[in-house]
Symmetry: C3
Subunit: 350 residues, 3 copies
Amino acid sequence: MVITLGELAIRFGCTLKGEPEVPIDSVATLENAGERSISFLANPKYRRQLAATRAAAVVLEPRFADECPVAALIAPNAYATYARIATLLYPEPSWRAGINAGASVAERTRIAPSASIAAAVTIENDVVIGERTRVGPGCVVMQGSSIGADTCLSANVTLCRGVRIGDRVLIHPGVVIGADGFGLAPERGTWVKVPQIGSVQIGDDVEIGANTTIDRGAIEDTVIEDGVKLDNQIQIGHNVRIGAHTAIAGCTGVSGSTTIGRNCMIAGMVGIAGHLSICDGAVVTGRTLVSRSIRKPGVYSGGLPLDEARRWRRNSARFRHLDELAKRVESLSGRAMPSDEESGDANGDD
Amino acid sequence: MVITLGELAIRFGCTLKGEPEVPIDSVATLENAGERSISFLANPKYRRQLAATRAAAVVLEPRFADECPVAALIAPNAYATYARIATLLYPEPSWRAGINAGASVAERTRIAPSASIAAAVTIENDVVIGERTRVGPGCVVMQGSSIGADTCLSANVTLCRGVRIGDRVLIHPGVVIGADGFGLAPERGTWVKVPQIGSVQIGDDVEIGANTTIDRGAIEDTVIEDGVKLDNQIQIGHNVRIGAHTAIAGCTGVSGSTTIGRNCMIAGMVGIAGHLSICDGAVVTGRTLVSRSIRKPGVYSGGLPLDEARRWRRNSARFRHLDELAKRVESLSGRAMPSDEESGDANGDD
Amino acid sequence: MVITLGELAIRFGCTLKGEPEVPIDSVATLENAGERSISFLANPKYRRQLAATRAAAVVLEPRFADECPVAALIAPNAYATYARIATLLYPEPSWRAGINAGASVAERTRIAPSASIAAAVTIENDVVIGERTRVGPGCVVMQGSSIGADTCLSANVTLCRGVRIGDRVLIHPGVVIGADGFGLAPERGTWVKVPQIGSVQIGDDVEIGANTTIDRGAIEDTVIEDGVKLDNQIQIGHNVRIGAHTAIAGCTGVSGSTTIGRNCMIAGMVGIAGHLSICDGAVVTGRTLVSRSIRKPGVYSGGLPLDEARRWRRNSARFRHLDELAKRVESLSGRAMPSDEESGDANGDD
C-alpha cells in the first residue's frame, strides 16, 4: 500500500511539516528508514538517532519538531499516531469465511457465516461464534463457549467449557482459558479436588499473549474486563478480576481471588498473592512480590537489582542477620528503629 | 440434579441442623447463594458473610454452627465435604467411547474400547490407553507411551515418547510431558547435546495444570508420585522426583535432579535449584528461592514484599552496601556479628 | 545397538583402559549401571559413586582414571564424549518422508520430498520446508515462514507469519514463535495496539524448550543466533537479540529490545529488563533481576536464598527500614557510607 504524507496528515489529524506529495509505503526505525518509509520518535532515548535519519518523514511530538531533519508529522501522541499509520500500511490478512473441511464441528453450534474456522479445529456443542471471527488452526472450543465478533484465536488456543469471549479480542497461540483453578481440600494427608464450577468472562478489545493461562472460577467466574492487555506466559488464578484497560507484562502470576483495578500497569515477572485488592491506577515495577493489598495509586517496587556475584554473596549473607544488626544498632544508639507498625502506611498496605 | 439436605447429610456423614426435605440444586458463595443453593465456610476470612447469607444451607465445621442463620451441614472438614457435594451436583461430562474419525491413530496401539479419542488427536505406535480414558482434541501421544484408566488429557496435551501415566490422572490443556531435559556439554565455546534417554513416570490421582512442562530424564526417569497436584505453568526439570501428595502452585520451577519429599506444599513462583533434597512435609511460601536443601520439616520463606517505589529504591541501594554496613557496626561495637557459619542450622540447610 | 569398548575408543578418540572386546549396549548412571552399560563421571559431586560402580566402563577425565574400578574411556572432555556415545547408542527415530493425509497443506508451498509432515499439521501458503525436516503432529506453520533442513518441530508448535528457522534446529512441543510483541501506545486511558511488523529469525543448531515463546519484532526482527540453547518456558520479548552459543535456563524472561551477547550462560527464572545490553561471556545465576546493562564478563547474582520463615520475616521487616538503619550508623560513626555512585563500577552497570 502506498499513501502520501498529505493523506496521512489529514487522515490522522497531524500537522505536516514538509511536502504533502511524498509517497510512503512502509514504516521503519529511525536508524534504518529509507526514502519511502515513515518512522517515529516516542522514547527520548532514541532522540540522537533523529538527526541522522533518512526516513521520508518522522511522526513526533511538537517538542521534537525543530530537531527533525526530514519531513515531520506532528501529533500530540506520536506513538499512538504511529500505531494507527502502521495499522493502515500493514493490514491484517483476511480470512476466507467458512468452515475448513479439516475442522471438526459439532452439530449443535451457531457459527456466523462470515466466521473463518481453520483446519484441525475442534468445536463442541452449544458453541456460538460471531461475525468475522477467526478460529485458527489447532484451536479447541469446548462445549457452551461463546466468542463475539471480529475476534481472533490465532492457533492452538484452548477455550474450556462455557468460556465467554467478547468482540475484537486477540488471543495468541497456546493460550488456555478456563482450565480448572487450583482448588484442593486437604484431608488426612491427601487432597480432595474441589470442582471448579465457575467459568471465565473476557470483555471486548482484550489481547492475550502466547501461552498465557486464565483459570475458570471455583464457583463464580474469573473476569477480565474490556481493554485489558495481557502479555505472554501470564498465569491468572481462579476468581481473579482484572479491571478495564489494565496492562500486565510477561511472566506475571496472579493468585486466586485477587482483584486488580482499572488502568493499572503491572510489569513483568510480578507475583501477586491471592485474596488481595489492588486499586485503580496502581503501577508495579518488574519482579515485585505483591503480598499485601495496594490501596493508593502510585508506583510500587520489590525487585533487588543484580550485583557482581562475590559482592552479592557477601551482602546476602549479611541479610540473613539483618535483624541482629538492627538490634545492635538500636543498642549502640540507645533508640529503637522504626518498626513496620510505626512507619505509617506509605504504600497503602493493609 | 436435585437432592435434599437430608440425603446430603446421610451420604456425606454430616450432622444436619435444619429441615431434611429442603431441595438443593446448586452450590454458591455465601454472598450470592439463593434458596436452593448450598454454600460453605472454610476460610474464617469469610466468616462475616455467614450472618447475611441466604443459602438454603451452609457446610461448616462445628465451631461455626451456632453463628449460622440458615440450615447447616456440620462436618469435621467442611471444605472437603463441600468438594464432595459439588462433585455430586456437577458431574463431569461423559465422553462418547471410541475413536473419532478425525483422529490419527497408528496401527500398533492398544486402546481400550471404552476410551474416548477426540478429533485432531495423534496416537503413535506402541501406545496403550486404558478404560474410560479421554484423550481430548489436539492431543499428541508419542510412541510407546501408556496411559492408565479413567485418566483425562483435556486438549492440546503432548506426551512425548515412552511416557507412563497412571489412573485417574487429570492433565489440563497445553501440558507437555517428556520433552528433552536441558542437557548440554560445553565444548570449545559451543554445546554438545546430551541425549535424554530417560522418560517420565506419573503416578495415580495426579493433576497437572495448564501449560505445565515436565521434562524426561537424562538417563533414568523423572518421577511424579501418586496424588501430586501441580498448578499451571510449572516447570519440572529432568530427573526430578516429587513425593506423593505434594502440591505445588503456579509458575514454580524445579531444576534438574532435585528430590522433593511427600506432603510438601510449595507456593507459587518458587524457584528450586538443582541437585537438592527437600524433606517430607516442607512448606515453602511464595516467591522463595530454594538454593539449599531443606532437611527439617517447617515453613521456609524468601520473598521480599513490595514497598512504595521511592522507599524501595533507597533501601535496595543500601542493600548493595550491607556488608560494609555490618562491618561498620562491628567496628563501632567492637564485636563480630554472627556469621552464617555460626548461626546454627535453623533452616536445615546443607 | 551393540558396540565394543575398543570401537568406541577409536571412534571418539579416547584412551581405553581395559579390554577392547567388551560389548556395550546402553548408557546408565554410575549407581545403576550393569555389565553392558557405559557410564560417565563429569560432576565431581558423584565421585564417590565411582568406586562402587558396576558399569562395563566409565567415560572420565584423566584426573579420575586411577580411581576407576572398571574399564575407563579416558577423554579430555568426558561429558561431551559421553554425549556423543549416547547419541550413537540411542539414535533418533527416523520419520517417514512425505505429507500425512491428515495434514492440511496450502497449495503454494515448497516442501522438500524428504521432509515429514505429520497428521493434524497446518501449513499455510508461501511456506518453505527443507530436506529431512520433521513437522510433528499439531504444528501450525503460518504464511511465509521458512524452515531449513534437518530441523524438527516436535508437536503442537506454532510458527506465526514469516518466521525463518535455520538448519538442525530442535523445537520442543508447545513453543510459539512469532506471536505479536507487547506493543501498546497509551491514549486517554486506553491502549492503541502497535502493529508488530517485524518477524523472528532463528539460526542453525538452536534448541528451544517446551512452551517457550519468542515474540516477533515491532519493526525489525527478533534474532536468535546460531547455537543458542533455550530451556522450557522462557519468554523472549520483541526485538531481543541473543548471541551465538548462549544458553538460557528455564522460566527466564527477556524484555523487549535487549541484546544478549555470545557465549553467555543465564540461569533459571532470571528476569532481564528491556533495552539493556549484556556483553559476551556474562554468567547470571538463578533468579537474578538484571535491571542494568552488563558491560564486563563475569558472574552476576541477585537471588536471596530462603530462610526459616520466622527469621525471614524478621529480617525482611528490617529491610523495609534499611535506609534509616544506615543513616543511624552513619550518624553513630560520624562518616557517610559509600553510596552507589562512590562504589565504583564493580559490576559494569551503566
